[in-house]
């Protein structure tokens, strides 16, 4: 039975200009989780989550040359994916509202409601809802001045916890 190794699994920073970095980080993390847990389903859930978090960070970064930071840790038996970036006040307010909406309802119902809603300013507004529903992750938001951090927490697959 395989198990995850050290506490910090991944830490990467890049500027918001590098959209092309996002699929690379997803690929690295999916590969790691897949090999470490033996669960393709778990690795895909983590992969889609980190992808959506990074897309949001890049899209809403206050400065295209500002750093987006992503770290992945194993903490208290759960996998924690954190993404943080600097953001403008209006985007922070929007994020707070989205987070409250997504966190409070049934994940599938919120996801459907978001899919059915009109696109606002070219943004899908689906990412956080997708993380909760498809990623099956708990989301935590913290804001300090103009720095935003979103954390997605995953229960480890049964195959790992039974080891």
């Amino acid at each position: 039975m395989s198990s995850l190794s050290p506490v910090q699994i991944l830490s990467v920073s890049y500027t918001a200009r590098w959209w092309s970095f996002i699929p690379s980080v997803r690929g690295i993390l999916e590969s790691y989780c897949g090999h470490s847990t033996g669960s393709a389903e778990f690795s895909e859930r983590v992969g889609v989550t980190v992808h959506e978090l990074l897309e949001n960070a890049v899209k809403y970064s206050a400065n295209p040359d500002g750093l987006v930071h992503c770290s992945v840790d194993l903490r208290d038996g759960r996998l924690a994916v954190q993404v943080d970036n600097m953001a403008r006040p209006e985007h922070i307010d929007c994020l707070r509202r989205e987070y409250d909406t997504v966190s409070s309802g049934n994940p599938l119902e919120v996801y459907i409601e978001k899919m059915a809603s009109d696109i606002d300013g070219g943004s899908s507004q689906l990412g956080l809802a997708r993380i909760r529903y498809e990623g099956e992750a708990e989301l935590l938001l913290s804001i300090e001045n103009d720095r935003v951090k979103l954390e997605a927490l995953f229960e480890m697959p049964d195959e790992v916890t039974a080891a």
């Binding site: 959209w19 699929p23 895909e44 992808h51 959506e52 897309e55």
Partner: protein, 129 residues
């Protein structure tokens, strides 16, 4: 009747193939990866064209095969959701049957196609294959 002019069916990472069998149904295969910053620029014209073309020519059904679409971001999913909304807003009489063919072993396909079916209250058919 002349065919409506088709939009561009290939992007840097994804492509769309369209087949016209003789049974009145259109087969649309979407494959590759959709993770661009604005996938709607590629997908939305295709969605609009397929929908309009199906109605104009009276196709009985359209099967969207996403089994070889290995990843799609939420912005791309929004394009498909927009199609479902457009489809639901079309009067049922004369409307083609819309269905998705997906792989149950691919997490995003299993989760999101199920959500499409729920969003359409079962009007959009889904098949795991």
């Amino acid at each position: 009747m002349n065919r409506l002019e088709s939009p561009i069916l290939t992007s840097d990472k994804a492509s769309v193939e369209i087949g016209y069998p003789t049974d009145g149904r259109v087969c649309v295969r979407i494959f590759g990866v959709i993770d661009q910053a604005q996938p709607g620029k590629f997908l939305d014209p295709i969605v609009d064209w397929l929908h309009a073309d199906a109605l104009a020519h009276g196709w009985t059904g359209m099967d969207l095969d996403v089994r070889d679409l290995s990843f799609i971001n939420s912005s791309g999913i929004k394009s498909f959701a927009g199609w479902i909304k457009k489809y639901m807003d079309t009067p049922a009489e004369g409307r083609y049957e819309l269905s998705f063919i997906y792989k149950d072993t691919v997490t995003w396909q299993r989760a999101t196609i199920k959500a499409f079916s729920a969003m359409s209250r079962g009007t959009v058919k889904v098949t795991a294959a």
